[in-house]
Symmetry: C2
Subunit: 495 residues, 2 copies
């Protein structure tokens, strides 16, 4: 059947969808969610059918194309396309199989991930796969296969230098910029670290956002080889490298229901480490934001160890206290300044971030048998300025110029949140601090965020400043203050 | 924040969705799939946010509204709406609970069904609920609560007449129009049957489609009371009565992956029986198309009995042979003609449909203690013309005029499928026969379909006609022939 194109001028942001009127669909015995094959000249593409039922239905003889289909066919308004019934993607039957509690083979998982990456699945089908994995669980073998498949579908980088090490935190702790301290310490100690980081999705800053205040974080894989050779390590935005293309699409389904499918998380993290050829991995599991109990953390750690062993990656896992923000600055610029102060051994160094970074670096060095006195070695590297020197090398290799902490521009619309009574800080809420920093403008306004003067356990006097909210303009500052107020300032003070 | 409306001129066919550009979304810290509240004058509505990422993004300061949102706000192009962040519907947390393997209370199920009916859930959330129910299963108590909730969210009809009985078939067998024979027999025997039937979704005809050839099947609940009083029964289209509004939305998710969630099916069927106040139910489980084994049928029967008992409905379950089509005609007009011939005791009566209807009617009469000789009683009602007389009463009460079988218009573009060899019919494929009838035009072309001259077990000579394909025009006939050929004519002949 031949139909005329109607350009719908909207993207679905995912699967390829076309729109037909009821009568045309009936004529071809086509139903909602059927797959149809579109042909225009030499170009073909498969899309999912939606049927217009509204009063402003598609006219007869026309087919509405969303952006993804227009692009794929290079089709324009009023051009003619031919449509045919297409078969469902093979992965549908494997999703059904998983749904019925059976285990999937590597080949089946491969097909599913392939179809996810190619946007061949509808949101109903993709959701079904993710939920079936979540409720029916995945075996260790399935998780291993998924990890390998996710590695294969993305960019694979091979570095000649040795030993290639990597680090990762399960996340959820605001201000926790350990990567920007640990990487220079470990690289100074002789490790090679090709670190890809994320940007913030729901947090006030990701490591990539913070690092971007100091240098360029967007690089192509070939350029990264050069940088690693020059500086022994890098800290870049993983999104530009495309290590695990299925990931973003899966997260889109998981996030509205806050689903943390363990097997999926394991595969997603480890596939990226395998993609950069890491032989050693330092993994942080913060207790608090995502992983609630030590028992849960131990269980996850066990699964990581099994998977890492199968991937021939040596893993050092550290369970940390994630109950409050780490460091003083929260937000890209405030965090970047903290990191530079710390690497400079400046009096304004955030002590908690320093201690944590030294402890974790030290444990990694001992694990890799570089030394028996890890903490001391790390401390020496940091305090003699070697870590700063290495960081400068990395910044330059990534195309940046060296800045002093004072050159980093912080939002100058500020509001001090002060103590209503004298006492001791009992709690600083991770989620409240994140939310306040975000509505004040972070991460898009890089200078926006929060600067903490106190941490849990510190004594405070009535009227003393607990933290300052920074924004880049008056409106967002006020929005930040309003939000902070509605969240009881995110602070509890006891006696 | 105030934004100008852009009329997107497309319906989602379900949930309310709006489109913002990335920058406007960032300003409000809004993400893909967040819920926002829209205000225009005194009208408000909650919608799910989609973020335009394409090259043809939404302009800044504009908000794209899909039809459902435009309707709900009575908004027009370039009018101004105010938006605010809205809370997620309560049911999200209950869906999460079910996802984690916990049981839901009646109140929680009620909230979920309410939000489904009101289109408050995204397709990801709705799919998650359905898949979680499928993989984690539902307890008998949950199924009972779901049934009650689905009854309450739809139309409830109260009839004064007694005893109210109903019948249902799990379906999947082409031509299986037992309802149109059993209803007049049982009504003639003194039962009151308010039968609501479906239209075809993926089959060549539903009971409502076939009945529509004889009379009007679309009636409001009040009119139905009048019809039942007058004729003692009716056979109408359930869609017009809206007994279970959540049903269609749930089926939309289940059908692309052919998910038959047992708990959902039980609740869906039984809620409609409870809605019409049925005290007795005759249920057919055909072995073959949907339920494959006798063990599976027995298990489903057990669950139906438990649920029926809790709803105080007396149930008679009959497991039948569903391995081939029933009756000779397949398609609305061909089936309607078969039914009239049968009720007239015409020589062209399809014997299998007659036998099956008599047996089932008889068993129901014995179950209800109307007689100890059910089959004989039913046969007498049929062969003395009482059933036809009752059917005529029903047809008239529903607003139709009496037709002879010969007055029903059958598609006059025909093709005879003949035997390639002499032998015995070994198999007639339900799915192939359905598909051929559909592409030949059924159910939209009411005269289209298939007329079977032979059934499984019948002997046939080379060159003899096995079945005729009927269509209303040449193009569809050819399409039907082509499809039949590609399916090996849907027939196996052995020795």
């Amino acid at each position: 059947m031949k139909l005329k194109v109607k350009d719908l001028d909207i993207a679905t942001g995912g699967s390829k969808v076309v729109l037909l009127n009821q009568e045309d669909a009936d004529k071809l015995d086509l139903h909602h969610m059927d797959r149809i094959r579109l042909i225009k000249g030499k170009r073909t593409c498969t899309a999912v059918l939606d049927i217009a039922e509204s009063r402003k239905a598609m006219p007869k003889g026309k087919i509405g194309l969303f952006e993804e289909v227009l692009d794929s066919l290079k089709a324009k308004q009023d051009q003619t396309v031919t449509i045919k019934l297409a078969k469902k993607p093979k992965s549908i039957q494997y999703i059904r199989k998983k749904l019925d509690g059976k285990k999937l083979s590597k080949k089946e998982i491969q097909q599913i991930i392939h179809d996810i990456v190619k946007d061949e699945l509808t949101s109903i089908e993709l959701t079904t796969y993710i939920i079936a994995n979540y409720t029916n669980g995945m075996s260790s073998r399935e998780i291993l296969d998924l990890t390998k498949v996710m590695t294969q579908t993305g960019t694979i980088m091979k570095f000649e230098q040795k030993p290639i090490a990597d680090l990762h935190s399960i996340g959820g702790v605001p201000g926790n910029r350990i990567t920007m301290i640990i990487v220079p310490i470990l690289v100074a100690a002789g490790l090679k670290i090709p670190k890809t980081s994320t940007r913030a999705i729901t947090s006030p800053s990701g490591t990539a956002d913070t690092m971007e205040l100091l240098t360029n974080v967007t690089h192509q894989p070939n350029k990264l080889k050069e940088i690693l050779k020059k500086a022994g390590g890098f800290i870049v935005w993983g999104g530009a490298v495309d290590l695990a293309p299925a990931d973003d699409k899966i997260i889109k389904v998981e996030s509205p229901l806050s689903i943390d499918a363990e097997g999926q998380m394991l595969a997603s993290i480890m596939s990226k480490k395998a993609s950069v050829g890491a032989k050693y991995l330092l993994l942080e599991i913060p207790l608090g934001p995502k992983v609630k109990t030590r028992a849960q953390a131990n269980k996850i750690a066990k699964h990581f160890r099994t998977l890492a062993k199968n991937l021939k990656i040596k893993i050092k896992i550290i369970i940390t206290d994630g109950s409050q923000p780490i460091g003083n600055g929260i937000g890209p610029a405030l965090e970047a300044r903290d990191c530079l102060w710390l690497l400079q051994n400046h009096p304004k160094t955030p002590k908690d971030l320093k201690e944590k970074s030294l402890r974790m670096s030290g444990q990694m060095l001992e694990y890799m048998r570089k030394t028996t006195k890890g903490y001391e070695t790390a401390k020496k590297i940091l305090e003699t300025g070697k870590a700063l020197e290495t960081m400068h090398k990395i910044i330059k290799a990534q195309g940046g110029t060296i800045k002093t902490p004072e050159q980093i521009i912080i939002g100058n619309h500020t509001f001090d949140v002060t103590a209503k009574k004298t006492g001791k800080i009992k709690q600083i809420s991770n989620s409240a601090i994140s939310k306040i920093a975000r509505v004040a403008g972070a991460p898009k306004d890089t200078g926006a965020g929060i600067y903490l003067f106190k941490h849990v356990g510190d004594r405070i006097k009535k009227g003393e400043t607990i933290y300052t909210i920074h924004a880049e303009n008056k409106i967002e500052l006020e929005y930040g203050i309003e939000t902070a107020k509605s969240l009881n300032w995110g602070i509890k003070i006891g006696n």
